[in-house]
């Protein structure tokens, strides 16, 4: 638990922190800290962990000073953005100092010639894109949480989003980073050209969930705003038909900017929340966005509509006005939250299967629901085969959490056996650290641990994340692997 600082040392530490970031930006009282017990994951994942103290720095220099103070006291350091993470990444699992980045929102430079911007990590994803839009650019990764989540969180989780089907995930859009390393030093990795000779340190830090360094500035790629955008909505009589349409669209040579699927349960919740115009009598809908040159968009729009109809679509609609398009996207992007209307708690799995395996994977999800007596909603990035089954439950019902976690594990194992991955885009955090040994060998894990140790030998940066429990010094949980191998579930 939290460190063993005596009360006198603790209050001295708090005054020092206040001297660095300002008194208003330090929280150490019960209520001030209680709000950091959560991110957007279920509390079965996040547990109940409080930081010793939370600070909201205003600049990279302040972060450096805070980190050095933590090092001097041997305290863990955890970065936090907006706390929309779904894997417990921003939870101070071993106490220590929580560094909340939300005040660091400046845009330092927009360089149209070299197509990059230098930005602080606390900026909200959508605010960044909206600012860039004034010059005709945008920041392509658009997690459904983009109105809220921060660039720093996106970088740390290597987040994806509906538009990543065409544009790629966050790592494809980060050219360089300014980071505070676990040694307490401030340094830049990468740069405007995006090419580095030697080690790709930017690549190592993106997706490292705050375990290798705290990002204090990012050099992000500017993407040109497309000339034309079309949004199509298609309704299907079954999830199976919709999945086949997805494969058919991609096989026809069309690469949509996004290709999203929602099932009937999700549609009913979304419509109850926002009245977006989704058909409530459909078993599944596809939301397809196409962008690019006007001619191509029009041509591809016809192909998509045709492919949908060939696969039993009962309705295909073009959202013609911007308002109509925005409303459909509002529904899709708020979908997880709307499901909170149907049950007090949900557990959201984030796994990947190869696109062609979507129909059997969805069938398996249906089976899980029946077997574990769970209502499961599906809303996901169909184009990438990135599933997001969302299991609804009520934590007060005895045994409910257990059933949910077991169903989640069963699904992970299924997806890995099908050639997929444990996490599509939400990160490993606290949630999936034990699942990591399902798809990596001991040697893989040892190599990763070696990287972690060379950055952070004292294991003070976001401890208890990513690596399986008991793996701190390279000891993999081999028993678990062996037992899975016996069950024939472990794929090397």
């Amino acid at each position: 638990m939290a460190s063993a600082l005596g009360p006198a040392t603790k209050s001295a530490l708090i005054s020092k922190l206040a001297a660095i970031v300002g008194e208003a930006h330090v929280a150490s009282d019960a209520a001030g800290l209680a709000v950091y017990e959560f991110d957007a994951s279920d509390e079965a994942i996040a547990g109940h962990h409080l930081p010793l103290v939370a600070v909201l720095p205003g600049s990279a220099e302040e972060v450096v000073q805070v980190v050095n103070l933590a090092l001097a006291h041997d305290l863990p350091v955890v970065a936090r953005g907006a706390g929309t993470g779904l894997a417990g990444g921003a939870i101070a699992a071993r106490g220590g100092i929580l560094i909340v980045m939300t005040r660091m929102t400046r845009i330092h430079e927009i360089n149209e010639i070299d197509r990059y911007a230098v930005v602080e990590p606390g900026i909200v994803n959508l605010d960044l894109s909206n600012t860039l839009l004034q010059q005709g650019y945008f920041f392509a990764p658009d997690p459904a949480s983009q109105r809220v989540c921060t660039l720093g969180g996106n970088i740390a989780n290597n987040s994806g989003g509906p538009h990543c089907l065409k544009y790629g995930v966050t790592s494809n859009h980060i050219l360089g980073l300014e980071v505070v390393l676990p040694s307490g030093e401030l340094t830049w990795v990468g740069g405007p050209s995006g090419e580095t000779s030697g080690y790709d340190l930017t690549g190592a830090i993106v997706g490292s969930e705050g375990t290798l360094g705290i990002v204090t500035k990012a050099m992000v790629r500017l993407t040109r705003k497309p000339e034309a955008v079309a949004v199509l909505l298609a309704a299907f009589p079954s999830m199976d038909a919709a999945s086949r349409a997805v494969s058919a669209i991609v096989a026809a040579g069309v690469l949509p900017a996004s290709l999203e699927m929602m099932d009937a349960l999700t549609i009913s919740a979304v419509e109850a929340a926002f009245h977006c115009g989704y058909p409530t009598d459909a078993a599944a809908v596809l939301l397809v966005e196409l962008d690019g040159l006007a001619e191509t968009v029009a041509e591809h729009g016809e192909i998509v509509a045709r492919k949908c109809r060939e696969h039993e679509a009962t309705m295909v609609r073009h959202a013609t006005t911007k308002a109509e398009q925005d409303l459909l996207w509002l529904g899709r992007k708020s979908a997880f939250g709307t499901l909170g209307r149907l049950a007090p708690n949900y557990y959201l799995q984030d796994t990947v299967v190869p696109r062609t395996k979507l129909p059997p994977a969805l069938e398996f999800v249906g089976q899980l629901g029946r077997e574990f007596r769970l209502e499961i909603a599906n809303v996901f990035h169909a184009g990438d085969g990135n599933l997001h089954p969302l299991m609804l439950f009520d934590r007060r019902e005895r045994g409910a959490i257990q059933r949910v976690l077991e169903a989640g594990d069963a699904l992970l194992e299924y997806c890995i056996a099908a050639g997929g991955a444990v996490s599509g885009e939400h990160g490993i955090g606290m949630e999936k650290k034990d699942a990591l040994s399902l798809c990596f060998t001991t040697d893989d894990l040892r190599a990763m641990a070696g990287l972690k140790r060379s950055f952070d030998p004292r294991e003070l940066f976001n401890p208890e994340k990513i690596f399986p429990s008991g793996f701190s010094c390279g000891e993999v949980n081999q028993l678990k692997q062996q037992s899975l191998m016996r069950d024939g579930m472990y794929v090397v």
Binding site: A34, F38, A335
Partner: protein, 454 residues
């Protein structure tokens, strides 16, 4: 389904602070509502206090987490940060409109405040002063009018100019508050004393909520509202026996005073010949629409409360949905529209006022940025939290004046007072006008054109 303590809490490994006081009684924040929050954070960017502080405790999700911690016995009701946050919240309900999960945040914060007020010896002094004000002045319209008449005397006699110039108020720390005092109407609107018959084909009867501030400071807005409604085919009555809607009391945690106000109004508006209860004050309309929640545990009144709450309409919503039968005359002005929180967030009415503005020929609407962000007025919030309030007012005025519009259109007296006071202190000429006043002017313009044509 009421408030069992979740299993996991017992197993929690965190060392907890000593908890002495928690929620109690039927007015405790409902567990089902707390539990609807899935902590997705989608409400954060909508929240004015989060926008300005960027810290979790001042966000809706943070406040719900705190309420939950108190409900689960992990945080004390008397915790100073908890209390600060419950009162730093503007109860603007922007979080509710943004929340995908349908969390009824307003119910949570109002119940939490009521719990604080009921339990708190420390705030007793402030509380009793507040309750005296609510029960004594707002609680009776007659007394409110009497108090307001004193104020009018103060304004009319020139005493106001003298006091303002002398700097007396600033010295006693009242300058900001005094600047908020409305210019009172020449003639108050007294319920039961005025009636407007429908013009043309009669389409129904509407009952107007006179309210407290509206009936004294903005009596002319009421008359404008009534003229616009009658021109569009509605008999307009102002039933006697009605009083303050109760919102100010409810928002401050004095639920009993709120309930008394609600019962009086329900009785006053209960005639079956009333087709709709119309309010032109967003805050009052929102409060009346929630009478059913307020009186849910009162067997004698719950059903009647539900019936009246269902008949309440904001005047813009009512007119836009019924359709204007009389076309307004032209007004060649530029306006910008400020969305009152209790219209756009609490009642989700945003399209209708714009439709009415669009119906006025030659009027040009220039949208301001962040139109739906609270102006910081929020009932008596501006008196209790002057710092946050004036920061929000600054932001609102900067957004509004950036449009260059000559008129800021609003639909709530609190916002109008707040913005007008802000503009006055800056010496800016922009006018703040209620949407009904503007429509009434447009109809008057029609009469002028007609007269000229004859």
């Amino acid at each position: 389904m009421s408030a069992p303590v979740a299993e996991h809490v017992l197993a929690s490994a965190v060392v907890q602070p000593e908890v002495l006081t928690g929620f109690s009684g039927p007015d405790a924040p409902p567990w089902e509502v707390i539990n609807t929050c899935v902590h997705c954070g989608f409400c954060l960017p909508a929240c004015p206090t989060y926008k300005l502080t960027l810290r979790e405790r001042s966000s809706p999700r943070g406040r719900i987490t705190l309420i939950k911690a108190v409900a689960e016995g992990r945080l004390d009701l008397m915790d100073p940060t908890f209390q600060d946050e419950m009162y730093l919240c503007l109860n603007c309900r922007a979080c509710e409109a943004a929340c995908p999960s349908g969390v009824k945040y307003g119910e949570l914060v109002e119940s939490a405040r009521a719990q604080i007020e009921a339990q708190s010896p420390r705030t007793l002094r402030v509380r009793s002063a507040r309750i005296a004000a609510f029960r004594g002045v707002f609680g009776s319209s007659r007394r409110f009018r009497a108090a307001s008449a004193g104020l009018r005397l103060y304004q009319r006699t020139g005493a106001q100019r003298f006091v303002r110039r002398s700097g007396l108020l600033r010295r006693v720390g009242l300058a900001e508050k005094e600047a908020l005092l409305p210019e009172l109407s020449e003639r108050f609107l007294v319920p039961g004393k005025e009636f407007w018959p429908a013009e043309g084909v009669r389409r129904g009867t509407v009952a107007l909520l006179a309210g407290c501030i509206m009936s004294t400071a903005y009596a002319e807005v009421h008359r404008a509202t009534a003229r616009v409604l009658s021109r569009n085919g509605f008999d307009v009555i102002v039933p006697p026996g009605q009083g303050c809607c109760g919102a100010l009391a409810i928002h401050s945690g004095d639920l009993e005073a709120g309930r008394a106000a609600a019962r009086a109004n329900i009785a006053a508006f209960s005639s079956p010949s009333i087709d709709a209860v119309v309010s032109n004050a967003a805050g009052c309309g929102a409060a009346m629409r929630e009478y059913d929640f307020l009186l849910r545990n009162d067997p004698d009144w719950a059903e009647r409360a539900r019936r009246i709450a269902g008949k309440v309409r904001d005047v813009s919503e009512f007119l836009a949905d019924q359709g204007l039968v009389a076309t307004p005359g032209p007004l060649a002005v530029t306006v910008t529209y400020q969305e009152p929180c209790h219209l756009v967030h609490a009642q989700r009415i945003s399209r209708q006022p714009r439709e009415l503005l669009a119906a006025i020929p030659e009027l040009q609407l220039i949208e301001m940025p962040e139109s739906a962000l609270c102006c910081g007025s929020a009932g008596i919030y501006n008196l209790l939290q002057p710092e946050m309030s004036s920061a929000l007012l600054e932001r609102k005025l900067a957004n509004a004046t950036s449009t260059g519009a000559a008129i800021i259109v609003s639909a709530n007296p609190g916002c109008m007072l707040q913005m007008a006071a802000g503009l006055r202190s800056k010496g800016v000429q922009t006018e703040v006008v209620h949407i009904m006043t503007l429509l009434d002017r447009a109809y008057a313009a029609l009469d002028v054109t007609a007269a000229a044509a004859n």
